[in-house]
Subunit: 145 residues, 2 copies
């Protein structure tokens, strides 16, 4: 934790890259944010993080698949348990895997199973930045608003 500060909700700790990847490794549902013509969109996706990339699937021809034409994406995972909360955000480029070697490697990663009714593509996010924050809520009794 490199920096501690107070947020309006309580103390905030910035997480190291290693801590961020460990948190991503511990869960499998994240949200992909994309933007087309200044309209943001968010899609929940099942993913696998391996410490350097994020991998997910999307069916061919879906809206999400189309929107990846703007490959500048954000990926966010968060959790809140009791008074503790964390959030990890990855920014980077989304790349649709096309070569047999890349697809074979993706097939071996432990993504959730997928119902084989439609063809899908693998998408990987190559991060430019990763950041995370952990928040501990210290709500006082005398809060006015």
């Amino acid at each position: 934790m490199s920096t501690d500060e107070w947020s309006p909700q309580g103390p905030v700790a910035e997480l190291s890259d290693t801590e961020c990847w460990a948190l991503l490794d511990g869960t499998s549902l994240g949200r992909l944010g994309v933007s087309v013509d200044s309209q943001p969109e968010i899609f929940p996706v099942d993913y696998h993080a391996d410490g350097s990339t994020v991998l997910f699937r999307t069916a061919s021809g879906t809206k999400l698949h189309e929107l990846l034409k703007n490959d500048s994406v954000v990926f966010e995972v968060d959790s809140r348990v009791g008074d503790a909360a964390w959030s990890v955000t990855v920014k980077g480029r989304a790349i649709v895997l096309t070569t047999p070697d890349d697809i074979d490697a993706a097939d071996r990663r432990p993504l959730p199973e997928w119902h084989p009714t439609k063809p899908f593509v693998y998408v990987t996010i190559v991060p430019s930045t990763i950041s995370g924050r952990r928040l501990n809520r210290h709500v006082t009794a005398e809060i006015a608003r």
Copy 2:
């Protein structure tokens, strides 16, 4: 449920507006998506939904506050319990509340408590569309990939 179809993960049901607002009413952590210069951003926010608007707070001067200069936003809430999953998405305009009457009304809504170390603003999302999907995973045993 107006339309049933199959997704690659199983059957999908589109949810009515009423069902979407009921799901939003049942939880309090969502994700706000904004876009500036084609760069999408996602922020987890505690919110309150009252059946027609979404309300949340942000500290004055934060990055999120700045980004709302592009007021076209998306707000997404999802849940996954066992084989069932749902996601609700609201698109609309984000408006920072400024009048005493609006702020008084917001003060009365049951948002989570807030640590009073920094001034904050209330932000409401006035929806242009709301949509939701419920997914039931029917993963077969013979999945190949």
